[in-house]
Symmetry: C2
Subunit: 528 residues, 2 copies
């Protein structure tokens, strides 16, 4: 007997499963964010989707690649690469000079406000570059995109999607105090055990820590609310109706979060949040010849891989000397990605490189430790390959990332501003010689590898799901339809309290009335 | 160059991935729960695990099967099958006679308290049957189980796991007001948009609904707290230290929840919660000959599948007549699973069966509608095959399940107590003839089929994960280490309020002091 239903579904799932030739639009962010989303793009192209990246003429990292399948739609903005570079450098420097601590958080906020103002100026020019370009918008409309993948650190991807009438998905590492995830995405963040981002706290908090965490959430909420407030009117104007940045962000179908439980402390989330941390990780490839020989020459001692990421290129001479002299004292060979002046104290065991194949080095069996600024991409490569870390965090989520790795026993931190050669040396000796660090790094690696579906496959699955179903409305919580006081049941609690108060009032009044009436009557009776 | 790390991991994952020959212990629950967990057991056996079921001598449904690979460890209890049957029947009847509504919830609670007392008496005898059987406990210890899969509706699975020193996993549909998931599992349930179980509310609530929901949560919490309280001392005694039922339940490594987002309204959850609803669903097999011919004879009109589940066998004659006369008026052929007296009004289009292959019928292309009591297993088969439903809910989660399907536009409900033939007839005509019901059922079906990993594979993955890693501690939220007031940050809020009050007091005192001192001086000066 022919089972039509099943045949139909099999065919449908087969057809759906492939989602052949879909059109995907990308709204990217600079720096390491771009490196991460590039991996998703490559996978989408492999699955025969047509991917178009919206990039401004002033973009720094987001530039056309050699891949002919990847289209770039370049729009004009009234600034050049230098300005983006200037804002990024200013951001990094201001953060490093004002690293937030419980006592300095207010000054940090005031200083960052200036930098973020510059950042918003650029962001707005980027938005205008697309939204006010009628010709481009019409071209995009004609291209019939099925989904837009947006990094919300640069606002406007969501507006473009709404204007094109297509669903959008976010790729996000974090927002200050997780305000966006919390208020716009409606994820609960209990301050009692979920450490606020940028607080450098863990999920094991003392009473004082919990006070810090509580204040941290509210301060960062305030920071986000005040600094991002001006976008509300921009969004309202662009969409032609009164709205807010947060309301619009809340329309994201899926939130691809660039972490996983090998890195995060367990916390509540919603079904439209997918944790795809480490999606860029892959097995190591063989090293270039010269580098491979240097690594092999390390013998039993192995190697240390050292990079401070793409944002920091040079250090002061003094700082570079402090670092180089520490490195010179370990038996391991060191591969240091550094483009600054060659430090005077550089040891024979250390080689400087303009660029290193970080993933291939960390995946090499001789890798003993990773000195890292603590960017999420790098940390995930270390987790993937099970390499313990020495963290030298500088800005953004880096101190927090290292705090996570410290709490999980896979890293030691040194303070870039105050460290001596001895500090760095001791940190390196600790992670290399104390077996617990390697064991913990390997434990995280095992957790990372032992998932039902690989992070990259999950990210692509949900992008394709949104394309197949024109959204993922079945995962969207009804919390989005409530006001903040309804969400917290304040109206219900208020009403119930009012009821209780009314009952108490009525009962008391009745009692008093009865007492007065019958009390007096009683007295009268007694007198009679 | 040989990349030892990668080779090592590939080998490790390969070895881990299979988790060959693990020993799994099952703590099952009666009725449809057993049917569901049986599917997981079969899959575990397929993957060459050794599975042992702990079943009492008084078990009703949990009886040795023909599968020689499945071991049963039967322990003696001082009651027979009749007593279990009696308690279940009493439970069903009491619920049906006192179906909870906003006005009758208190009476419902009082009546249910009696039934639940009987249920706890049996549960305790079951627990004693294992825990006080030294020989059995020693035998279990010798068997070196690696994980225990427990249905927590019968308590004690967790104690047995802890006494054997092995991790345990729950398979759970719900607990009253989700109290267990909320208080023991630490999942947040915002009452503003997450409908309390048994409330029959959806995620779209008016102000009045939200008041009902708020009260529902607290009443059911109270119900759970008072009725299950007596287990605290049993657990403390069994584990030899002061503990509570809730604290012990909180030690579950993974919670396999028997629903998914095709059925649930989106709500927060934690990373150790896995939604595996519909894991028992599978493509339809060909029907037995006689049945197949009857189904084929329905022509274009198709068939209606009708069952009230395994718990309800007979109806009153009057009720059966009402139902049969409605069924007689539809053009579809009806397959009714019914073991009671043949109703006088039975139409020629309706056939009674002692048992029907429900899944194969629902998966048949001629299936037009499913009349169901609304058990989760049956609903999931209807979702899987995309068949719209007429719900005749009776007890437990059934009214709630049908409320979910109604809200998603895939079902119409009729009240078993008050329904007339016309009610049932209209309901059937609606779901069969209004295309939206079929469309919505198909939409749910598409959502169900379009998951990165099938529910059964995910359930087995996490059981094997716990076996491979001896737990899943990386998914356990730190909320478990906090007291209730710490969890809600009440101590922090109290402290901060005290600080603010102190500052206000000091400032006011200073102002008053200054005013008195300098005010008087001023006056004095004026006089001078």
């Amino acid at each position: 007997m022919l089972n039509k239903n099943i045949l139909l579904w099999s065919l449908q799932i087969c057809l759906l499963g492939s989602t052949l030739g879909g059109n995907v639009l990308i709204w990217p962010m600079e720096g390491s964010h771009w490196l991460n989303v590039k991996i998703i793009i490559d996978e989408l192209i492999k699955k025969e989707h047509n991917v178009t990246v919206l990039a401004s003429s002033g973009a720094l990292f987001i530039t056309p690649t050699s891949n002919p399948s990847l289209k770039f739609e370049i729009y004009q903005v009234p600034f050049g690469k230098e300005r983006v570079e200037g804002v990024i450098n200013n951001f990094v420097l201001t953060w490093m000079e004002n690293r937030p601590s419980p006592l300095t958080i207010w000054r940090f906020y005031q200083e960052m406000a200036k930098v973020i103002h510059d950042f918003h100026m650029i962001s707005r020019e980027i938005c205008d570059g697309v939204l006010k370009n009628q010709k481009l918008m019409e071209k995009l409309k004609k291209n019939k995109f099925e989904v837009l993948l947006s990094d919300p650190v640069f606002p406007c991807g969501d507006i473009i999607a709404l204007k094109l009438g297509i669903p959008f998905i976010y790729s996000l590492r974090f927002s200050p105090a997780s305000t966006v995830e919390k208020h716009c995405g409606k994820v609960p963040y209990p301050p009692s055990y979920v450490p606020a981002i940028l607080s450098e706290l863990t999920d094991q908090m003392s009473f004082t820590d919990r006070i810090r965490n509580f204040i941290s959430y509210h301060l960062q909420d305030y920071m986000f609310d005040t600094l991002w407030k001006s976008w509300d009117s921009y969004y309202s104007k662009a969409l032609g109706r009164p709205t807010t940045l947060c309301e619009t962000m809340g329309k994201a179908e899926i939130w691809l979060i660039r972490t996983y439980w090998d890195f995060e402390f367990p916390r509540p989330y919603l079904p439209n949040f997918e944790f795809v941390g480490g999606l860029h990780c892959k097995p190591a490839k063989p090293l270039p010849k010269e580098m491979g020989e240097f690594v092999q020459s390390s013998g039993e001692d192995g190697i240390v891989v050292f990079t401070l990421g793409s944002m920091v290129k040079n250090l002061t001479d003094a700082k570079a000397d402090v670092i180089a002299s520490a490195l010179a004292q370990i038996p391991q060979k060191v591969l240091w990605r550094y483009t600054g002046k060659r430090p005077a104290t550089l040891g024979a065991n250390t080689r400087l490189y303009e660029w290193i194949p970080q993933n291939d080095l960390l995946g090499h069996p001789k890798a003993k430790a990773f000195i890292t600024h603590g960017g999420t991409n790098g940390i995930y490569e270390a987790i993937y390959h099970g390499v313990p870390m020495v963290g030298v965090p500088m800005f953004a989520d880096q101190p927090d990332n290292i705090a996570h790795m410290k709490a999980k026993g896979a890293a030691v931190e040194v303070n870039i501003n105050t460290m001596t050669s001895a500090d760095l040396l001791n940190a390196l000796k600790t992670v290399i010689n104390e077996p617990s660090y390697k064991e913990n790094a390997m434990r995280l690696s095992r957790i990372h590898h032992d998932q039902p579906v690989k992070p990259l496959d999950r990210a692509v699955f949900w992008i394709e799901f949104v394309m197949r179903h024109k959204g993922a409305k079945h995962l969207r919580p009804a919390a989005h339809d409530l006001t903040w006081y309804q969400y917290h049941s304040l109206d219900v609690i208020g009403f119930l309290l009012a009821c209780v108060a009314t009952v108490i009032f009525l009962v008391t009044t009745c009692c008093l009335f009865s007492y007065r009436k019958f009390g007096k009557t009683g007295k009268k009776k007694k007198r009679e």
